[in-house]
């Protein structure tokens, strides 16, 4: 994996150790959630399609550490990690994956439509590239209302070939909207290697076409992601407009749980797991820094495990929605009482 080290103000290094530990904690919580989800899916406890974020945790974590709840993100089909990092509760997420009434979407969405608007997570999206313009619209709302909120759009390498990418970046650029486009270049779009589908060498090469800044960082190094996001989100918040941040990473699991993965070798995957796992890499950094020791790491894992088991218990003990509830939530009014005069 090629990685261009861009030079950003070094802000990670100045973080207090609790904040650094918090980064690791988030990454571990995501990993634990995803590992459990994989197991549950294989055991047929979770229906539908599930796309795991394993191996990519540093990106959501490093970016989200620079956002508040009043800021927004748009996500992808691979949205669990974004939701957790943005502050969603794993219990209500798990309940949604189980199709229960207590889920964030009352069981209507499932994994591909996981969302928690209350923390600014504007939704996973089953349409690849569906989030670009939603993020642009949120940023536009901030500009129109003159708040200093920002929006972050997460998208895959495959998504960067959709026309919506182009229209969103162009519009964001001419209006200098407070939005950061974060590309998760995990080397594959489903079965298709990025080298096949992407005509540019890097997704970030496309920034020039919009007169904005584009950078490529190592997306498996949470420090690099944090620094880059901190700088670019800060600029966006100051009214300096959008930017494009490409985070190089690797999708360790299949495209979806159940993917036969005929398009790559086990060795390729194993090498990445061994050498480039973002949690291992960051744990090592924190140990070297003296912020973390073995016991501390074990504790983080144990706490995460406990949280996720509780989430599963919550999900499993939650009721399914009543069938008739399928007719609710389409409009702001109930289907029976179409408002004749809107006041």
């Amino acid at each position: 994996m090629e990685s261009t080290q861009a030079v950003f103000p070094e802000r990670y290094i100045a973080l207090p150790s609790e904040r650094k530990m918090e980064l690791l904690r988030t990454m571990i919580r995501i990993r634990t959630f995803e590992t459990k989800v994989e197991e549950l899916f294989l055991n047929k406890k979770i229906p539908g399609f599930v796309h795991l974020y394993i191996g990519e945790e540093a990106i959501a974590t490093g970016v989200m550490a620079n956002l508040g709840k009043e800021d927004w993100i748009t996500s992808t089909h691979r949205g669990h990690g974004h939701a957790i990092a943005k502050g969603a509760q794993t219990a209500r997420m798990m309940a949604e994956l189980f199709g229960r009434k207590t889920g964030y979407c009352k069981g209507k969405g499932g994994s591909m439509h996981i969302a928690d608007f209350s923390v600014g997570m504007l939704g996973a999206n089953g349409v690849v590239g569906g989030g670009f313009n939603i993020a642009v619209g949120a940023a536009l709302s901030a500009q129109i209302r003159r708040t200093n909120q920002v929006a972050v759009c997460f998208f895959g390498d495959g998504a960067s070939n959709r026309g919506t990418f182009h229209e969103a970046l162009n519009l964001a650029a001419i209006w200098k909207l407070p939005v950061l486009f974060v590309n998760e270049n995990n080397q594959y779009a489903s079965t298709t290697p990025v080298s096949y589908g992407l005509s540019a060498q890097h997704v970030a090469d496309r920034a020039k076409g919009y007169g904005i800044e584009g950078y490529t960082v190592d997306g498996n190094d949470v420090r690099q992601v944090y620094d880059a996001a901190s700088y670019l989100i800060g600029r966006a918040r100051e009214g300096k407009g959008p930017a494009l941040l490409e985070c190089l990473t690797y999708r360790v699991k299949g495209h979806y749980v159940g993917d036969p993965e005929k398009y790559r070798t086990r060795e390729e995957v194993q090498k990445m797991v061994n050498e480039r796992d973002p949690i291992k890499l960051f744990s090592k950094v924190l140990m070297e820094e003296g912020t973390l020791n073995d016991a501390g790491l074990a504790k983080l894992y144990a706490e995460a495990e406990e949280e996720i088991l509780a989430a599963v218990a919550f999900a499993e003990s939650s009721p399914y929605p009543e069938p008739e509830e399928a007719l609710e939530d389409l409009f702001s009014f109930s289907p029976k009482e179409f408002p004749e005069v809107i006041a």
Binding site: Q149, E167, N170, D329, S332
Partner: protein
């Protein structure tokens, strides 16, 4: 009552709603520098500054951003330039806007309006003459309205802007310069409610948009032959006002549905299908449909006229439901 044009009526609606609510804003192609192709945005830039904006030719951004903005505290109004271009942003409408509220379990309202000038005018040919409401009729989650006069244009646009749900507002290009009475005082035209333009006993014509006036002319002519036509102006096309339509048909026992869109697969299909389902035993004749012939709109005036639904088509349909020889 004072008389203003359809275009001015929409402008008044915009101005009133933008004054009333600072989160209302509007954007579209070529609306700032020249006031919109039909003058329907004239003067707004002077009053509202950056709350009215030109956009690049990027329809997916126009419609997609409306969703993002609507979810986050504003009430966007987006102009499509020509309704024909709705197809460019179809995924944004069908898979994002229409589904957002539902698939996320009602987490947010989606107060947005897509304005879409439609219809046949001046030999604009296949890609600039369409009425495309039929493309959207099988998508749960969208509300579709179409005014037929300056008064309904103003009232429906205001209601659409205030509704907390996505509304597609089709405005017929031929209507823009037409004048009609519009109250001075503020009013809203209810969404979801049809209006009976002309009461009658013999036949119900269900119609909307520009076709309303064509049908009214036919009705006036038929009145002299002793045929008493009731005309229902739907105003809201989806969901349409079943109660008013069914009540009328149960009274007249005969119905013609008329729209400018292509008949096959058009809104008339849903309306006719519903009427025969719900009022079968009241019908004395099949519900007939009038609309454009089953081809794109051709350029040449001779061809365009042949393809577009004409008053004579409406008249013939009325005769047929009355079982008269044509």
């Amino acid at each position: 009552m004072r008389t203003i044009t359809f275009s001015e009526a929409t402008l008044e609606a915009m101005r009133e709603e933008m004054r009333r609510d600072p989160t209302v804003f509007v954007y579209g192609e070529d609306i700032v520098r020249q006031g919109g192709i039909f003058g329907q945005f004239k003067g707004l830039p002077e009053e509202f500054g950056d709350r009215i904006r030109d956009v690049p030719i990027s329809e997916t951004a126009i419609v997609g951003a409306a969703l993002g903005a609507a979810l986050t505290g504003t009430r966007p109004v987006a102009d499509m330039h020509f309704a024909d271009f709705i197809g460019v942003a179809f995924d944004e409408l069908a898979n994002q806007i229409a589904k957002n509220r539902y698939m996320f379990g009602g987490q947010a309202n989606i107060p947005l309006v897509i304005r879409a000038p439609d219809g046949i005018i001046n030999q604009a040919a296949a890609q600039h003459s369409q009425s495309v409401e039929g493309w959207l009729q099988n998508i749960p989650g969208l509300i579709i309205v179409a005014p037929s006069s300056p008064a309904t244009a103003k009232g429906l646009l205001k209601s659409a802007i205030r509704l907390n749900d996505p509304v597609i507002y089709f405005e017929h290009k031929v209507l823009y310069p037409q004048k009609g009475p519009v109250p001075e005082e503020e009013y809203l035209t209810p969404i979801g409610k049809a209006e009976i333009r002309r009461p009658g006993r013999d036949v119900t014509i269900v119609t909307y948009s520009l076709m309303v006036q064509k049908c009214e002319e036919v009705a006036t002519e038929l009145a002299s032959e002793g045929i008493d036509v009731e005309i229902i102006d739907l105003l809201t096309l989806k969901p349409f006002d079943r109660a008013t339509v069914l009540e009328s048909v149960k009274k007249t026992h005969r119905c013609v549905v008329a729209h400018e869109a292509v008949v096959t697969g058009g809104l008339g299909a849903e309306i006719a299908a519903t009427i025969q389902e719900q009022a079968f035993w009241w019908l004395d004749a099949p519900v007939l449909r009038v609309g454009a012939k089953n081809v794109p709109i051709p350029f040449s005036p001779v061809l365009e006229k042949f393809v577009a639904p004409q008053k004579d088509d409406v008249r013939r349909a009325v005769y047929r439901v009355l079982h008269r020889e044509v």
